[in-house]
């Protein structure tokens, strides 16, 4: 009897909170809502240390926080969410820690494919962004499988940056652009189309801005409107350097597992404040 009362009270509380949250999002939606929010998930290890949790528990707590934030974003109407899950620089950490994170990622990716996961609940399309060749075989296979399984979803998108740095992304885009131009010139040589070859060879603009953008890993999404980095550090750490040139940067002091609805609301309010100026610039440039 008491158990069912407790359960009822719990459900009532839960639905009240959910109702208030949806009402808050309705109010926010009167103004412009960001299309794309990016998150740097910083502070998991500090969180574990702070609460005397075991090694790696901070990352697990971080994963729970990620699920909540994703839910809030999609409920609010944000279409694209990008997260900095693992940087190429993070491979420098202790091998045991790297292995732990890789194992956890494998576990969570497999979880994404399950029926009741957030991916299916909100119709989320999944992309794994980065130099996936640097990952070990099973994580890469799982990532590709997850991307394929969710490829029919179209309501929202999550971009998970693993083995990613912005400088690596730009170098990769430059390599691909050069290879593409090189192949084009080769095929023209084969067709003996000398005039066009000369034109292409002599032009100092062998590759253009559009070519580089096309070959970026992040080319599947528009530029982020807000970049949130938790734990109070204000630096980009080689994340989305190209895409955040006019993006609002927000660094709350909270560690990543402590991130909550209030931080998201604050970020969106700040975005709404500068939106008119950024729109004016975009129209004029």
């Amino acid at each position: 009897m008491e158990n069912s009362m407790d359960r009822f009270a719990g459900r009532l509380f839960g639905s009240t909170v959910s109702y208030i949250r949806r009402f808050l999002f309705r109010v926010l939606s009167v103004g412009p809502i960001p299309n794309h929010i990016a998150f740097i998930l910083d502070g998991n290890r500090r969180y574990a240390k702070k609460w005397n949790l075991g090694e790696g528990m901070g990352h697990r707590a971080g994963f729970l926080a990620l699920m909540s934030i994703m839910k809030y974003c999609y409920e609010l109407g944000v279409k694209y969410v990008t997260i900095y899950a693992f940087s190429i620089d993070n491979f420098k950490r202790r091998p045991e820690e790297v292995q732990y994170v890789m194992d956890m990622m494998l576990e969570k990716i497999e979880g994404l494919l399950k029926e009741e996961s957030i991916v299916n609940q909100y119709g989320v399309r999944v992309y794994f962004v980065g130099n996936l060749k640097l990952l070990n075989e099973n994580v890469r296979m799982a990532a590709e499988k997850a991307m394929k399984a969710a490829s029919n979803n179209s309501r929202s998108v999550i971009l998970i940056c693993v083995a990613y740095t912005s400088t690596d992304e730009i170098v990769h885009a430059a390599q691909e652009s050069c290879e593409e131009k090189w192949t084009e010139i080769q095929s023209l040589t084969d067709a003996r189309n000398c005039e066009i070859i000369e034109e292409k060879r002599e032009g100092s603009n062998v590759i253009k801005l559009a070519d580089i953008e096309r070959h970026m890993y992040m080319g599947v999404a528009p530029d982020p409107d807000i970049l949130v980095r938790t734990s109070g550090e204000t630096r980009l750490s080689n994340f989305l350097l190209w895409q955040t040139s006019n993006c609002l940067l927000y660094s709350p002091r909270a560690l990543w597992p402590e991130i909550g609805l209030r931080h998201l609301v604050w970020a969106v309010l700040n975005f709404q404040r500068i939106y008119p100026y950024l729109e004016k610039r975009r129209k004029n440039i």
Partner: protein, 303 residues
């Protein structure tokens, strides 16, 4: 080193505000510091007046700052000049003039405190959307201030470089810039890099284009392209410290606005609500203090 009083003579517009009467522009005299000497440096009576300090040796640091944690390269986005003028009911030109003074102060402080490189965002390629009257005023002011300052810089051993696309600037300014920059002074106290009509994205694109030309000419294969090759072709290759350690943006705006893009990968960002003309020694000390407290891990682990 003394600072000569700033007499910015304006032949075209008569500004109602003279530099010395601006409320937030204290005259800085480096030969007379009231501050307690905390860090070992040359004693006060041996401070060179004519800027012939050998490179790397600098004056006293304010209390609280540690010499070994000073950044080598500081980048600044000088935002808030127009707001500053509007708040005081002054024409926008006065805001920019006050901004020029603030820049002068910061250059002096960088020289004194041993910061090796200072990059300033003078004009972005995205700023052309402002009214033509304003951009003309800005170009005009820049030319006048530069003409005066270049002699000062030479005397004070400050090396000046330019990044950005100068072809869209007025002809007279282009000529002035061409004559002034590029004289490589080996033992300069400070390397001042001015970003004029600069865009971080365009910088990366032009670096990739230069590499593409090399690939085209068969000098390198596409697979050989790596981040070191790209860095060598960026416009900041004129300095030994191309990556800023600290970026300061004034006026409370929290964005990079297409400034140094590749170079800011691991830079500590510092945002302050002060408007640029109000950014003086105290604000700069606060920024440096905040920088020195940060733990820079570069993706690795601290412990």
């Amino acid at each position: 080193m003394t600072i000569l009083p700033l007499h910015l003579h304006f032949s075209l517009t008569r500004s109602p505000v003279k530099p010395h009467s601006l409320p937030h522009a204290p005259r800085l005299k480096l030969t007379q510091h009231a501050r307690p000497q905390v860090v070992a440096g040359p004693p006060e009576n041996s401070v060179e007046i004519n800027g012939t300090y050998p490179a790397g040796v600098s004056g006293q640091l304010p209390s609280g700052l540690r010499r070994e944690l000073m950044p080598s390269h500081v980048a600044v986005i000088m935002d808030g000049n127009r707001r500053w003028a509007r708040m005081r009911g002054l024409p926008i030109g006065s805001g920019y003039e006050a901004g020029a003074q603030a820049l002068r102060r910061i250059v002096e402080l960088c020289c004194e405190w041993g910061i090796r490189v200072l990059t300033v965002f003078v004009f972005s390629s995205d700023n052309w959307f402002r009214p033509k009257v304003e951009t003309d005023l800005l170009m005009d002011l820049f030319e006048r201030v530069l003409k005066y300052e270049l002699q000062q810089f030479e005397r004070e051993n400050v090396r000046v470089s330019l990044i950005g696309d100068t072809t869209k600037l007025p002809k007279s300014l282009q000529e002035l810039l061409a004559n002034s920059v590029g004289t490589a002074q080996k033992n300069s106290r400070l390397h001042l890099i001015m970003a004029v009509n600069y865009s971080g994205q365009n910088d990366v694109v032009q670096a990739c284009q230069k590499i593409a030309v090399k690939v085209n000419d068969g000098l390198i294969k596409p697979n050989d392209i790596n981040k070191f090759l790209v860095e060598k072709e960026l416009e900041t290759n004129c300095t030994d410290y191309p990556h800023p350690d600290l970026l300061v943006r004034t006026s409370g705006e929290l964005r990079i606005s297409n400034f140094l893009l590749w170079q800011l990968a691991y830079t500590e960002l510092y945002f302050t609500n002060s408007l640029w003309p109000d950014f003086g020694e105290d604000e700069f000390v606060e920024a440096l203090f905040s920088f020195q407290k940060r733990q820079r891990r570069y993706g690795g682990r601290n412990s």
